[in-house]
Symmetry: C2
């Protein structure tokens, strides 16, 4: 077995930067390109771990900020880390908490060492900086920790974006020095907003530290118009070394993932499959739709024709609509199962296309069916 942290590039697409890779973690290999379901509060919403195992899910994301607030670190110290707490035996990546601290909380004061803020739950005064974030992630025992960063919202002034890059670099250097859990990898995060020169400075600064096992593209899905997301990915992916995994944070529409893979991105996370499931939005290979619509009241078809997921194997749209309509938990479970099944199926087909040297056709087809210019009702809103 290769050393933990090894990133094998198994195959490269001849027409783009797309590649098949394998990242070795303390909880086994993670095949890339990979989609990581979000388990904010030590659970992927509405799903049991055995359901994710059946999807061959190899890595989950956990949220440092949320887990620190509830249940709190004492629980993880006593009970042996996040894997054991949620009984997840495969890999876990934890975010740094930076995004939540800056977006969810009432900020009190910035210092060179971190941020004073009030918890979004009960207003408790808390402090988090690079040392605290890494200590929490060490206690959680994630396989991949993220360096503590400042992710400014979009829009923000160039001056603020510049300061955020300064802090992100300074904090990244501190993170690199912190003790880690056994076998824990650490990724740096490139910020810089919509400014190519800031992105470049941030990436170069992180690379100069020579301390990271992978690099993330941060701050491209934090409120900007959709047409700024892909340019942000493009300008950042170009700055990152071929030999390390590249992780695009928080971006998860099918067409965006395909375009990003073409630019060399290996890892994705997104709350969409579960969040939209709670609202009754169903992803299909031909776009998405709301199963709550009255037109599905008597609809005897499965959520998606030809789908092999547990929901489509047994139930009709009319039944799922009824469950959601009367607030029954099983409704959310079924739409989440279906959407997550669709995400893993999409990534499996994407990988197959790279393996078989037909990724460019797959990417073009994905853009046609799901992209921003896609034709057909509902298609433009495709996952």
């Amino acid at each position: 077995m290769p050393d933990i942290g090894t990133f094998e590039i198994l195959h490269e697409d001849p027409e783009s930067r797309a590649r098949l890779g394998r990242l070795w973690t303390a909880h086994g290999p993670v095949d890339t390109p990979v989609f990581m379901p979000v388990g904010t509060q030590a659970t992927v919403k509405s799903m049991a771990p055995w359901e994710l195992e059946e999807l061959n899910c190899g890595i989950l994301l956990g949220n440092t900020y949320h887990l620190n607030v509830r249940p709190g670190m004492e629980v993880f110290e006593k009970m042996g880390g996040l894997h054991r707490f949620m009984d997840w035996k495969r890999a876990i990546l934890t975010d740094s908490g930076g995004y939540q601290v800056f977006s969810l909380t009432h900020l009190r004061r910035m210092t060179p060492d971190g941020v004073w803020f009030q918890s979004h739950v009960d207003g408790t005064k808390m402090f988090m900086g690079p040392q605290e974030s890494m200590a929490i992630q060490r206690t959680l025992g994630s396989d991949i920790a993220m360096a503590f960063d400042e992710c400014p919202p979009c829009p923000c002034t160039p001056e603020y974006a510049c300061q955020a890059v300064d802090r992100t670099l300074s904090w990244a250097a501190q993170c690199a020095q912190q003790p880690r859990a056994p076998g824990q990898l650490v990724f740096g995060i490139v910020q810089g907003g919509v400014h190519p020169e800031l992105r470049e400075r941030c990436a170069k600064g992180l690379l100069a530290l020579g301390a990271f096992d992978g690099y993330a593209i941060g701050g491209v899905s934090v409120g900007e118009p959709e047409d700024l997301i892909m340019p942000g990915v493009r300008m950042t992916a170009d700055l990152l070394p071929r030999e390390r995994p590249r992780y695009l944070m928080g971006v998860g529409q099918f067409w965006q993932m395909a375009e990003s893979v073409a630019l060399g991105v290996d890892m994705f996370d997104c709350v969409m499959p579960t969040r939209l499931a709670r609202h009754g939005t169903v992803f299909t290979r031909s776009g998405r739709y709301s199963v709550r619509a009255a037109v599905h009241r008597l609809d005897d078809r499965p959520l998606e024709d030809g789908c092999a997921c547990p929901a489509c194997q047994r139930f009709s749209r009319g039944y799922v609509r009824h469950l959601l309509n009367v607030g029954e938990i099983l409704g959310v479970r079924l739409t989440a199962l279906h959407n997550m099944f669709g995400y893993f199926g999409f990534i499996a087909r994407l990988r197959d296309s790279i393996r078989e040297n037909r990724f460019e056709a797959f990417r073009a087809e994905t853009a046609r069916v799901y992209g921003p210019d896609a034709a057909g009702p509902g298609a433009a809103a495709g996952a």
Copy 2:
């Protein structure tokens, strides 16, 4: 295979009226004594049908009133009945809707043919009587339909209880004449409140119709003090024929079920395992407790030591507490799985004790551990 409606008595306890039976329905045999999980709105709350199948659940209860309001009968007419709608391949019993009409809705007017009322959801004016109830249950296609009854609340005046028995008998006679779904059985319901003479009149009236495949004991768990429940069961069970199944409606504490089985009751339903699961109440073989209590924050034990359910096999009390505490669906799923597993385990042990001629010891032990006079913290509140 015996005819549909056949009730085989497989073994009788030498010391009580407890018996092992088998009721043949259009969707297979139902072994008794049996516990029927409640699937009010075409789902047992938070559970998927495959989870109930794994518990060897042989029969579910559905609610005529709720299903008539939402999704409405057009859905079942178009989509082929309740079994197909919720993809449940085993037996289903539907209640008559009488209990909900009289307890949930704003009543408008009683007529000899039924009741005008307003829907509890949106105030829609609706009418239900024996013809309507049986027509709905026919459309649902349940294996066992219940005759439309009036279940007066406790307390009520003797005069009102008497009128309710008159109406229940008149409506039962009408129900017996209605067309049924193929192979559908119909049970009559004995009302009469706390009055032995009314109970006797009602039971004799139902038996005189000679039309029912089984008999239910109604109106003993509708608001009366707990010490009136078992006397109500006793006075009614004595009136019902040995050769037909006896169904005690809405009663489901372990000790009550054991005492009722001793009186010859064969079937039970109760919302407790799922309803209390939503509040974080966990049933165990030594009583029940709230896993939401702060004392379980760092508790690494499973919900119940030695339990083989999917929740106890993988998770700690600390984890389940956290999930419930932050409002995650998986928390409710796990407590519901555990509680339902406990119910089916209890019924399995009860059946074993009858089969092995040691039911009396089982009943006494159940009373000791879970009964109203049980010693020990939490024990008196045992399931």
